[in-house]
Amino acid sequence: MKYTTFNQQSTNPLVEPMFFGNPVNVARYDQQKHQIFEKLIEKQISFFWRPEEVDVSKDRVDFQKLSEPEKHIFISNLKYQTLLDSVQGRSPNIAFLPIVSLPELETWVETWSFFETIHSRSYTHILRNLFADPSAVFEDIVLNEEIKRRATDISKYYDDLIFATQVWQTQGEGVHLVDGQTVTINQRELKKKLFLCMNSVNALEAIRFYVSFACTFAFAERELMEGNSKIIRLIARDEALHLSSTQHILNLWAKGKDDPEMASIAEECHDEARAIFMNAVEQEKQWATYLFQHGSMIGLNKDILCQYVEFIANHRMAAIGLDTPFEVKSNPLPWMNNYLNSDNVQVAPQESEISSYLVGQIDSEVSGDDFGDFDL
């Protein structure tokens, strides 16, 4: 079905499925089929923040004090997070918007992705403060084998769905020859790709950030890199909402509260969905190994970090109706909760540059010569 930016057919969005129904026409939010997405939009917008509001200047001094293994941990995590948010800043839009059928869900996806771009911008803010020229860090993201391996797994389900949708929207259902490859397109196959993609995104939002979050907050526990930690707290708060949305989508499908065909696909693809999650858990543990290959950091080591991943994974898997395969019952890093508690997340005015950041930016860009004609 060809995509149209304004479907002129009268549709009733209260009876459309979330995806693969009629394209959305009127962006209206007075009524919703699934209220949760409207509520998530409101909450996410109420969380609005700007990286520049957080003063990271003290981190530069702290960074110099870190040991070499600790610097490796800090910078590698930033690279990995930059990758994740690069993907998330565009992919939900490109993959889900062409097939979404509810106005509230369409806007949720756009809002969600927009916040991922704020996350991306904050990494530049952090790195610019640490390095006169952060290019080397950014450039390594597409060269570093450890990161590349993760990038492949994260983007492949998106890419699969996007490609199939493109063929479907331009050539329709059937068997097509594209670039010498035979591609079979039908509704069920498309929906399966959507289901697997949503599971992969859910796993990303659920656990892929938590190893780096733990490292960031472990530095903050030692009163190091606190500007960075403040930013990561704001990011973590957003990620919790993103996760809530993918959990809701998966549960609406599985419980037959949306598209009945998705309920049967959820059953059919149960094992594959579980494998996607377990693979993400495994990759996070390998990431911990990579981070600590040159040595640990105070307050954190590979084993405890892996236990934390398992602890989080149990909870996240239960939330989408999967089993809880890991032994760990109590939180191995209880102090993490202090950083994930939204009461503590406000950007306190006295600690930030809210009033001064604009002035500061102008200051640094105006040279003495610019005042040549000024009589003071």
């Binding site: 509520k39 909450k43 919790a240 996760l243 809530s244 809701h248 909870h315």
Partner: protein, 101 residues
Amino acid sequence: MTSEISTSDVLPMKMDDLFIIHLDDQTRLACLKDKTLLESLEAHQVEVHFQCREGFCGACRTKLIEGQVDYLTDPLAFIDDDEILPCCCVAKSDLKLKLGG
């Protein structure tokens, strides 16, 4: 001014403001109406997982076997029909909970 509290002042308040939380056959806890369920449980040193404490992360998801709760803020995290988010609700009756899912 010294305040003399008569039983008639205290008792009605107690009956109105306290609900009982049953965790298992042995454990019964008093729960204050003006505290969130999470705060009540924490006051009794019961470990409940939490992160956001505001109803959107789902960390505190708990099974409600019997009873009713009122939400102070809209729960945004996914919960099943038989689950509650203790961080943003108060008891409306005596409750029977199953912790640690």
